[in-house]
Subunit: 117 residues, 2 copies
């Protein structure tokens, strides 16, 4: 082959970096990072979510207090305009990444699907 | 933007499909699929591996008999020239995919790394 597989990956990486989804997400991240209060609220929410996820994955018990703490931090985040925007932008980016992966992984999916036919 | 993010993903998908790694892997899959004996050995090995993985992930006990069965099927597979080639090709493909993902996900990694600085 004349061109390298990785060249196409670098092209996609560049396109991702310049995409509306990424530019918006980056802008919102910068705004949250520049706002001490928003940053603290967002990081607190993230820490609580990650802690709960880890407990769920490892089968640890989640206390009533932790559930209430998570609900409280989610309510604060939902009422915060900037953080809400950031989380919506994260979701759009995540959906785009999912679509990209689906496209790129199609050849392998076809291959593994062909076994056992 | 003039061009769509997904166009770049389709370009990469096409390049992946035409890559040495994929063409070799596909060829070996076809050979294994066309060889009843090889296909049975390979599928048996896969089933045993997946069963063990699932048990490990869900924390179920793995019996001594299952360990021995897995070792036996791994030994058979290692001595099978065609299946060994297929598994090496799978590993090369998997490494290439890992590299591609690292390249494509760089912008997001940078973003998430910037939080909390
Ligand atoms: Ca766009
Ligand atoms: Ca090549």
């Amino acid at each position: 082959m004349a061109t390298n597989l990785y060249d196409y990956a670098y092209e996609l990486e560049k396109a991702l970096r310049e995409s509306d989804e990424y530019v918006q997400l980056r802008g919102l991240y910068d705004q949250v990072n520049a706002d001490e209060s928003a940053k603290r609220i967002f990081e607190n929410f993230r820490d609580i979510q990650m802690n709960l996820q880890q407990k769920q994955m490892t089968g640890q018990e989640i206390t009533q207090e932790e559930v209430e703490q998570a609900q409280k931090s989610a309510a604060i985040v939902q009422q915060h305009e900037l953080i809400s925007q950031l989380m919506q932008a994260e979701q759009r980016m995540s959906m785009a990444i999912g679509e990209l992966n689906k496209i790129i992984m199609k050849p392998l999916e076809e291959l593994y699907g062909s076994l056992g036919e």
